[in-house]
């Protein structure tokens, strides 16, 4: 494995940093374009945007106040300019639904979804890769057959169906796990340090709360993870099967390298590359599935907030939400790309220019 210092010195000297820099600039442009797109969508409401936002109970005065505040009476480019100016000052406007600055809403809800997504990713990587490796190594065994079936079903089932089924079996029928929210209503939440319920509980020494929070995490995280276990596991499996037949693996055996080293080092590395390549794109689906899963499990997270703002035509929040998603996606893609460069020397050589 490359030592970090070696890579760093290499990177500084040559084109890797240039490559990252280029990608960052590209992303900024794309996000810019995205902001225009979503801004356009948000303002192209048939009818009166102010009325759409405030609902039919609002008075004319209230409506007028909103119109002025959001510059709805001005032309589209002017509105965009005001919004952009606000963005550069860290102000994303006020949410018509929660009546708070959007930034506050984001700060409150993002950690909840982040906790969920991270846990789901952890589950899907561990279980998915384990399944893929075992299925590939023991190709055509009963395990392989079962995992193939699971993969087909996992890919074809929408996440909300999985969420409902899981809730049905484990929560309502078997009473093994809770199905609503992050902690029971009766329990008091620990003081917010990171926003991660489990972590905060541990930091506050409330171990029982941490445990309960974990049980609340399990079902929604699993609902999110299933599709990734299915898809990425399958890719890993076929990758392992393909690489097992490669001559160099035979050579490793001929030269007497021990089996554990062959499997966990020489076989594994080439096999997970195609999977990692796909993880970036899959993350997009993870985020969109979060919308549905948070809805089913009433998880007070960013995705559910996003959903609510869209359903309520909360223009400021909607624009902010879409941009956050776009930004996250761009960052994750870049990270995945960098990870691949670390793992795959052929790509590294290409990027470095030999």
């Amino acid at each position: 494995m490359l030592s970090p210092s070696r890579v760093l010195e290499g990177a500084v000297k040559d084109t890797m940093l240039k490559y990252i820099g280029l990608r960052l600039v590209q992303s900024v442009f794309v996000l810019f374009g995205l902001s225009i797109l979503i801004f356009f969508i948000a303002r192209v409401v048939p009818g009166d945007p102010a009325r759409a936002m405030m609902g039919y109970l609002a008075t004319q005065d209230q409506l007028q106040a909103v119109r002025v505040e959001m510059h709805l009476d001005k032309s589209f480019p002017v509105q965009y300019y005001y919004w952009l100016r606000g963005l550069l000052h860290g102000d994303l406007g006020r949410s018509a639904y929660t009546k708070r600055p959007v930034v506050t809403d984001l700060a409150q809800y993002i950690p909840a979804t982040l906790e969920l997504i991270l846990f789901a990713t952890l589950i899907s990587v561990v279980l998915g890769q384990a399944m893929g490796i075992l299925a590939g190594y023991f190709r055509n065994s009963w395990f392989d057959g079962v995992s193939r079936l699971v993969s087909y079903l996992g890919i074809a089932t929408p996440s909300f169906v999985i969420a409902i089924l899981l809730m049905f079996f484990f929560s309502q029928v078997l009473h093994l796990a809770p199905s609503v929210g992050r902690i029971p209503i009766m329990m008091t939440a620990p003081p917010t340090v990171t926003g991660f319920m489990v972590l905060d509980s541990l930091l506050a020494g409330q171990f029982s709360t941490a445990l309960v929070a974990l049980t609340h995490l399990v079902l929604p995280a699993f609902s999110l993870a299933v599709i990734h276990i299915a898809q990425e596991g399958r890719i890993t499996r076929s990758s392992i099967v393909e690489n097992l037949g490669k001559d160099y693996i035979t050579m490793h055996r001929v030269h007497g390298i021990r089996t554990s080293r062959i499997v966990f080092k020489y076989l594994l590395r080439p096999s997970i590359i195609p999977t990692v390549t796909v993880m970036g794109l899959d993350f997009a689906f993870l985020m969109s599935n979060a919308f549905l899963v948070e809805l089913v499990f009433m998880w007070p997270g960013f995705a559910r907030y996003a959903l609510t703002t869209m359903l309520n035509k909360d223009l400021n929040a909607m624009v902010a939400v879409v941009l956050v998603i776009g930004l996250t996606f761009a960052v994750v893609n870049l990270l995945v790309d960098i990870l691949i460069t670390f793992l795959d020397p052929t790509v590294r050589i290409q990027r470095r220019g030999g």
Binding site: G245, D247, Y248, V254, H255, P345
Partner: protein, 326 residues
């Protein structure tokens, strides 16, 4: 006692279309310190033989139906997995045809070399090696193959090296442990013609120095002439002739060998020959008896009945042909 002695090997592959009966009673012997060549057309089973000796055949499709392979008296085919592993680490080593495929593209040459030494536990001297020892031995192994700047090569990835250098790395990998027997499966066939000679000569030097016995597989008569003392000729899964190299090249007796010799283009003489009529058999439904009989101009009824054993045609010269039955 011979170093390596294979007797009556029958190996086949189970495929979608049926059972490919490839090795049909293969017998081969390599003595201590000897250099034995194995010639035959592509597809006659040479690589299968080597892989069977090393027990690296892909076992789901491949099946060993019978025979034994005695290495220093012990049957490799019936050894435990651990014994086979020890065999690979300390006794038998191999080089294969395609150096690009033989090296893992994701890891540096150094990593692969080091791991080989790490897991071999220091060859016959016994005892574990320290990191510095391993490093030194890697450099030495690379140096021995004639590579300039071995330290830099250690940090390179296989894709950064030329074909000739890659094969040198493979040779270094193979000879880094003090193995007694080297199985070389067409080590230079995939290389540039200009480098083939260089590599072969280097290989020759090295095995000479180390006293390693060699089983060299090739389909080039030139290689065989220069590098081997004894020769086996293989056709469609069995050995058809064996003798000391000079003797066999001068006086081939088996009809197939004779046809082979005639096919080699010579600078003097009658020009390019037409080759041997017919094609190598289909292993799904191989010919009965002697597998060469459909293409042989001396075919007799008995040839179709059973595969001929080795008959002595001269001192230390055997041919598996009923022509020499008496």
């Amino acid at each position: 006692m011979a170093l390596l002695e294979a007797k009556d090997l029958h190996v086949g592959y189970r495929t979608f279309e049926g059972y490919l009966h490839v090795l049909n009673g293969v017998k081969i012997e390599v003595d201590e310190g000897e250099r034995v060549g194995l010639v035959g057309e592509t597809g006659c089973g040479k690589t299968t033989t080597v892989k069977t000796i090393l027990r690296v055949l892909p076992m789901p499709p491949a099946q060993v139906q019978g025979g034994e392979i005695l290495y220093r008296g012990e049957d490799v085919l019936r050894m435990s997995a651990r014994a086979v592993r020890d065999l690979r680490r300390r006794e038998i080593t191999a080089i294969f045809q395609d150096p690009l495929q033989a090296l893992n593209p994701m890891f540096t040459v150094g990593t692969q070399l080091r791991d080989i030494l790490k897991d071999s536990m220091g060859g016959r001297d016994g005892g574990r090696l320290t990191k510095r020892d391993i490093e030194k031995r890697c450099i030495v192994a690379l140096q021995e193959t004639g590579m300039p700047d071995p330290e830099r090569i250690m940090t390179n990835y296989p894709s950064q090296l030329s074909g000739g250098m890659r094969q040198r790395v493979c040779i270094a990998e193979a000879l880094s442990r003090e193995a007694r027997l080297l199985l070389a499966d067409e080590p230079t066939t995939n290389l540039d013609v200009t480098i083939q000679d260089q590599i072969l000569r280097k290989l020759d030097e090295l095995v000479d120095e180390k006293g390693t016995s060699v089983l060299m597989i090739t389909h080039s008569m030139g290689v065989v002439r220069d590098l081997t003392q004894r020769l086996y000729v293989m056709y469609a899964g069995s050995m058809v002739e064996t003798a000391r190299t000079k003797e066999l090249l001068a006086r081939p007796r088996h009809p197939y060998t004779q046809g082979l010799m005639k096919s080699v283009p010579r600078l003097t003489g009658e020009g390019i020959s037409e080759g041997i009529p017919g094609r190598i058999p289909n292993y799904l439904e191989p010919p009965s008896g002697c597998r060469f009989h459909p293409r042989c101009e001396h075919v007799m009824p008995v040839c179709k009945e059973a595969i001929p054993p080795f008959y002595a045609v001269d001192e230390d010269h055997f041919a598996a042909c009923y022509l020499y039955r008496s």
